[in-house]
């Protein structure tokens, strides 16, 4: 399909990956969008988010049509409006001006862009690209976030790094062995086999570690379900990528030899690490994560303990990712080298690259 494979290879390893605009991004958690305006930046587009009186989320450009004052500093007014904090121009949820204080007729040009917005999976998703292409069926499947069969919670990390570095991080979990030694790492990750597959919907990377001692975090989870549990486990990490930047990881352990690799997980515990990363600028990203489980569903204590524990683990990633971004910027003449462990991340890069190509924006990758 291309006559210039060498060009394709080098752009796939861009150190600063550009972001597709024709894509759904999680702009905020549902709980963060209220009757008080919230300023966010998604794919380098400044937005103000709020809810109408009826509770419907709204995403407008965060700059008044008149003198570009941030609407996020304004106040909500009426059923669905927001008033510019500077000269009082009021817009409705479609971004149309409904009041201009200093004249009798509304200027027909007075609008601010309004963006397609959908509330789903406990997030507020926005589409900052061509609105004609905003198909809500393409919002990533993160149903574990709200499915009654699952429980858990998460947070957002504001990262000073390009969003693709987070995707690379999540697709290659060999880093756990070295970065997360005391919690979810373990000597068996980097030496275990993994299988990568892809289809038009995404990329899956599967890794099984058979008959190994459980890492501390997993041992604690097993003991929660099986008090006093000792012994080895079979551990799995099945990483699912969905365009543009969502990775849901099916993780767990079961007592070794009880048939988990064959599909019987009844003697183990199962979690889903939910990750959706929103590019903010070329060198910043909002990393939304949650850890969902399908056991002890009514334990708020466990929800809180796991969330706080994972927060500590992910702080180790934050430190590394930001240090990596600084090193990238400090070494502009050096390129990435790709290893076999990067296969998952490389497939993601190809998905994103093709989307950028379709938007005619591939060349602007830094």
């Amino acid at each position: 399909m291309t006559t210039t494979p060498t060009v394709r290879t080098s752009s796939t390893t861009a150190k600063t990956m550009n972001f597709p605009l024709n894509a759904w991004y999680a702009a905020a958690w549902d709980r963060e969008v209220t009757r008080k305006p919230l300023a966010v930046r998604v794919a380098d587009t400044p937005l103000v988010l709020y809810r109408t009186e009826d509770g419907k989320p709204v995403a407008l450009a965060d700059a008044c049509w008149h003198r570009l004052a941030p609407l996020s500093m304004g106040v909500l007014i009426g059923k669905d409006g927001i008033r510019c904090p500077y000269h009082g121009i009021v817009y409705n949820s479609a971004g149309r001006c409904v009041a201009m204080p200093a004249q009798e007729v509304l200027n027909p040009s007075a609008t601010v862009p309004s963006y397609p917005v959908v509330e789903r999976h406990r997030f507020i998703w926005v589409w900052v690209g061509d609105p004609r292409k905003a198909d809500r069926e393409t919002i990533p499947d993160m149903h574990q976030m709200h499915d009654p069969a699952w429980a858990g919670d998460g947070e957002t990390i504001n990262l000073e790094c390009n969003y693709q570095l987070v995707l690379d991080n999540l697709m290659d979990l060999t880093h756990e062995e070295f970065l997360h030694t005391s919690s979810i790492g373990g000597d068996d990750i980097s030496s275990s086999e993994f299988v990568v597959t892809h289809d038009e919907d995404g990329v899956t990377l599967t890794r099984w570690m058979i008959d190994i001692p459980p890492v501390p975090f997993m041992k604690a989870q097993m003991r929660n379900q099986y008090p006093g549990f000792e012994g080895n486990v079979d551990r799995w990490q099945i990483i699912h990528y969905q365009f543009p930047s969502t990775i849901c990881i099916d993780v767990g352990v079961a007592k070794t030899g009880t048939g988990a690799p064959e599909g019987d997980r009844s003697q183990g515990i199962n979690g889903y690490v939910m990750n959706t990363i929103t590019p903010v600028t070329a060198s910043t990203a909002n990393y939304h994560w949650a850890w969902m489980r399908n056991y002890a569903l009514d334990s708020q204590l466990l929800t809180t303990q796991i969330r706080d524990g994972i927060r500590n683990v992910f702080t180790e990633d934050t430190g590394m990712l930001q240090a990596q971004q600084k090193a990238i910027e400090a070494n502009p003449e050096y390129e990435f080298y790709n290893l076999n462990i990067d296969a998952g991340g490389m497939w993601i890069r190809r998905f994103i690259e093709r989307a950028l190509e379709a938007e005619g924006r591939l060349k602007t990758a830094g």
């Binding site: 450009a61 049509w65 409705n92 479609a94 971004g95 149309r96 001006c97 409904v98 004249q103 009798e104 007729v105 509304l106 200027n107 027909p108 040009s109 609008t111 601010v112 862009p113 309004s114 963006y115 397609p116 061509d130 609105p131 004609r132 905003a134 005619g360």
Partner: protein
Amino acid sequence: MAATNSEVWQRGSVVAVTTVADGIRRIEIETSLPARADAGSHIDVTVLVDGQPEKRSYSIVDASPDGRYLTISVFRTPASRGGSVYMHTLAPGDELELTQPLQNFPLRIGAETYVLLAGGIGITAIKHMAADLRVLKADYRLVYVGRTRSAMAYLDELVALHGDRVQVHVDDEGTSLEVEQLVAATTDDTELYMCGPIRLMDAVRRSWAAAGRVVPNLRYETFGNSGWFESQEFTVAIPRLDVEVVVPTGQSMLEALEAAGVDMMFDCRKGECGLCEVRILALDGVIDHRDVFYSRRQQNAATKMCCCVSRAVTSTDAAAATVAGSRPARVAIDVS
């Protein structure tokens, strides 16, 4: 969706010119800095009027997805200020200066129902919207109004593409549009987009308000070149500055005052922003308010006018106004 109003100028090359209706030329342009042209967008073009560069706005009728090829359609108006005369001289291979697409009339995706209303050459702003709504399988109607069929550009093409969704009204066939019926058939969830002569747009605006429809759901764009009366030559005087000039039919009051050396304040030049407002001190004749800045109350008071588009005429009676030999209207003003 975005309201894009930063002008990025580029070169264009005319690749095709065809006549698509009485006095209407379709001009296809290949651009040097392609940018996507969304429905409702327009370009500003540098035209030459008496050898002098001036700026004119034209809606984009069609565009290739990447914006490399843009098509506009230009009606050569009898009272042209010179822009359409120049545009009608263009032939394939000619070069021109134009902006990337500018957007003041965005089509919002996601309304329950749409009515698209085009009057005459106003179809240029509406055609692309209809094409988008068709692809999106939206619930829309395209209402196309004209004096006579031969003056209605793209009529056959639109009927072929949109079928039952097109409603055609032709004055000389006795099927003129009943504005109140049109508005009565809309709901609070209907968005109505219109472009056409000022009489039509004003009738819809009043009917929309009278029916209690949501005001910002009525969307329209004007370039300020349509009046209640045929343009006439008139005189404008600024006693304080000891200025008196004649405004010919092919020139605006603002242009005439600028040409006379008056330091005028203005911005949009299409009767929208109100910055070119002048105070009327005395008037012999009536004001043909062509702006969308003032309310009807303010226009009737005739104490101020937007000099970029509005004019003075001799009589409110259109027939009497065109009687040869009648004394030109005269307006005395003061400026900021």
